[in-house]
């Protein structure tokens, strides 16, 4: 989405500040003219600085302090310890490092699977709803509902479905279909990862659907007509017309979904009631729990900064690779 904020014709009307010759003569304006855009931006900039940029800088600083429970009340007393927090938390031979690495792999698998399935469901729905038919508007509204629900309401409902003794899932699988003899637990143990994945796909796929639907509206109908005249079947049209035309949307959509799911905190936090079983210990919840359990904000910050660096590297690599490929095709 970051590519879209440029307005190529934004300066067609407004002369560049400080070029008095082209200024309309009827309303001479003083130097405040050139200040105006900055004044308009000021509230947004101040808020972004206060809530995002400064805390981020503070977070990096915190990661260099011994900010344990003894110093949390007055953190000016916390001693500076350099990269010690990073060494301690990222040391893969220590228990903490092993747990973090485990959490990292879980999160990576969760993100890739969740994004993949969300995209697959999104593109399926967008393609089959492309041509008008009776009931299309209702289905479109229905498919968007999971995304519109507040996340906690949606996830709490799923945790009810997944209860061992009173949930719908076991009722159908065990009581009605008889597929299993034992009632499995879905919210603890190995199954918890798959439960988390299903809930996340249920919540995220409508966003993919919404974006892909918007993208398909820009595909000219003549392309399909031409492809059909050439004898292209459904799959051929999908491969040769739809997917190439959706490429710009897909590039942004997949990255955004990946970052969202990789940082996901809400789904496991609500689904498992404030904690997460080891098999579904996503990185955000791992950092959250280890920070507030031990009140060691220093190492919590170190893990957060490491997470941010990882995501920056992944995003940069992704953008580089996809841009280079576009150049090759051009």
């Amino acid at each position: 989405m970051a590519t879209s904020t440029t307005a190529p014709d934004a300066d067609r009307r407004e002369p560049r500040a400080g070029s008095p010759a082209r200024r309309p003569t009827r309303r001479p304006r003083g130097p405040r003219r050139s200040l105006l855009p900055y004044l308009l931006l000021a509230p947004a900039v101040v808020l972004e600085l206060a809530i995002h940029v400064i805390p981020m800088v503070v977070g990096v600083w915190m990661s260099l302090l011994e900010l344990t429970q003894f110093h949390i009340r007055d953190w000016s007393t916390a001693p500076f310890i350099g990269l010690e927090n990073y060494r301690a938390t990222l040391d893969l031979n220590s228990a903490a490092g092993k747990e973090l690495l485990h959490s990292f792999w879980i999160t990576l698998a969760y993100s890739l699977l969740s994004v993949g399935f969300a995209w697959l469901l999104g593109i399926s729905a967008a393609v089959v709803l492309q041509r008008p038919f009776r009931g299309r508007a209702i289905l479109r509204a229905l498919f968007l509902t999971p995304y519109a629900l507040p996340v906690y309401a949606a996830v709490i409902t799923w945790s009810f479905l997944l209860q061992r003794d009173t949930g719908l899932v076991n009722h159908v699988l065990v009581d009605q279909l008889g597929l299993m003899n034992e009632r499995p637990f879905w919210l603890i143990g190995d199954n918890s990862f798959w439960s988390l994945l299903v809930v996340s796909v249920w919540r995220n796929w409508p966003f993919a659907f919404l974006c892909l639907m918007a993208g398909l509206q820009n595909v000219p109908g003549e392309l399909y007509e031409a492809a059909a005249i050439d004898g292209a079947g459904f799959w051929r049209r999908l491969r040769s017309v739809t997917l190439p035309m959706l490429r710009p949307v897909n590039l942004v959509l997949l990255l955004v979904l990946f970052l969202w799911t990789f940082n996901d905190f809400n789904t496991p936090f609500v689904l498992f009631g404030g904690s997460a079983p080891e098999q579904a210990d996503l990185i955000s919840i791992h950092i959250y729990r280890s920070s507030f359990k031990t009140w060691d904000f220093g190492s919590g910050s170190a893990m957060s900064v490491a997470l941010l660096l990882f995501l920056l590297v992944v995003s940069a690599a992704y953008l580089l690779i996809t841009n280079r490929r576009r150049d090759d095709h051009a």
């Binding site: 309303r27 900055y38 729905a125 974006c211």
Partner: protein
């Protein structure tokens, strides 16, 4: 272009599966909200043994739901209105002016949207607590703190969507207003905003939804007095009982306003996405 029989059946199968996937949890939410307590305690039932509206009455007394609701309403409304007001000015600047730092601003604001929330949580928590200790400004565990935090969460996407909307409004309208002697702010309020009403409404709903559904900061930055729905709904599971029927009833009640708002405005979201990302 005719649809072949295979395509028609493929479409029906895909739509049926997706509909089942989406509808089943919604169905369970709605029907379970009308179940007596024993229906949700002893095994699952597809239909209430005796449909009742009692959970919708009991849910107000099991937890202080009214207080959570008021907190969520106050926090989300104020955050949404402030966020949109700030976003309108910023989007106007980005859409209508060329100035030094314009590109940097756009990229920085959008990229903060992508950063992990947990990264801001610990520092912001410490800043709020220490600021409170040092100056007496209560941001931690107060609705003001939540409002300020939430309004920045929706800001990037709001600015970005509004820039798309403002860009689609012909500059000829600005020029006509300026010929009539209108300054920049009058142009914004009398020409651009009236033409961008659907976009502004859609962005307001988006900002409201963002604040209404936020869990991470709500779970750390609130106390019993300022607790919002996101955390409060977990109070229905006590150590003695889990009132699933009341949880479903409460979930339904807190979902309806945002779902209705979102669905009513969905085509403007699509339009905003088309104007922005898809370009």
């Amino acid at each position: 272009m005719r649809e072949t029989a295979g395509e028609r059946w493929g479409r029906r199968i895909v739509l049926t599966l997706l509909t089942l996937f989406v509808v089943i949890p919604l169905y369970v939410m709605v029907t379970s909200a009308a179940k007596p307590l024993q229906d949700v305690q002893n095994g699952f039932t597809w239909w209430p043994s005796r449909p009742t509206l009692q959970p919708f009455i009991d849910m107000w007394s099991t937890v202080p739901l009214a207080r959570y609701l008021v907190n969520s309403l106050v926090v989300s409304s104020i955050a949404a209105v402030c966020s949109v007001a700030v976003a309108i000015f910023a989007a106007f600047a980005v859409s209508r002016y060329r100035f030094r730092g314009r590109g940097v601003f756009s990229v920085t604001v959008l990229s903060t949207q992508m950063f992990p929330g947990i990264l801001f949580l610990l520092p912001l928590f410490l800043i709020y607590v220490n600021l409170g200790n040092a100056t007496g400004i209560e941001l931690y565990a107060s609705r003001t703190g939540l409002i300020i935090t939430y309004l920045t969460f929706s800001l990037p996407f709001s600015i970005w969507m509004l820039v798309g909307y403002f860009d689609s409004i012909p500059r000829g309208l600005d020029e006509a207003a300026q010929v009539d002697g209108a300054g920049p702010l009058r142009t914004l309020f009398q020409v651009i905003l009236p033409a961008a009403v659907p976009g502004v409404v859609a962005v307001t709903v988006y900002a409201f939804m963002t604040a209404w559904g936020e869990v991470l900061f709500a779970s750390v930055m609130t106390d019993e007095g300022s607790r919002t729905l996101a955390v409060g709904l977990q109070g229905y599971s006590t150590q003695f009982n889990v009132y699933w029927n009341q949880i479903m009833a409460a979930s339904l009640v807190v979902s309806i306003p945002v779902v209705v708002g979102f669905l009513a405005l969905q085509r403007y979201f699509v339009a905003g996405l088309t104007a922005g990302a898809v370009k």
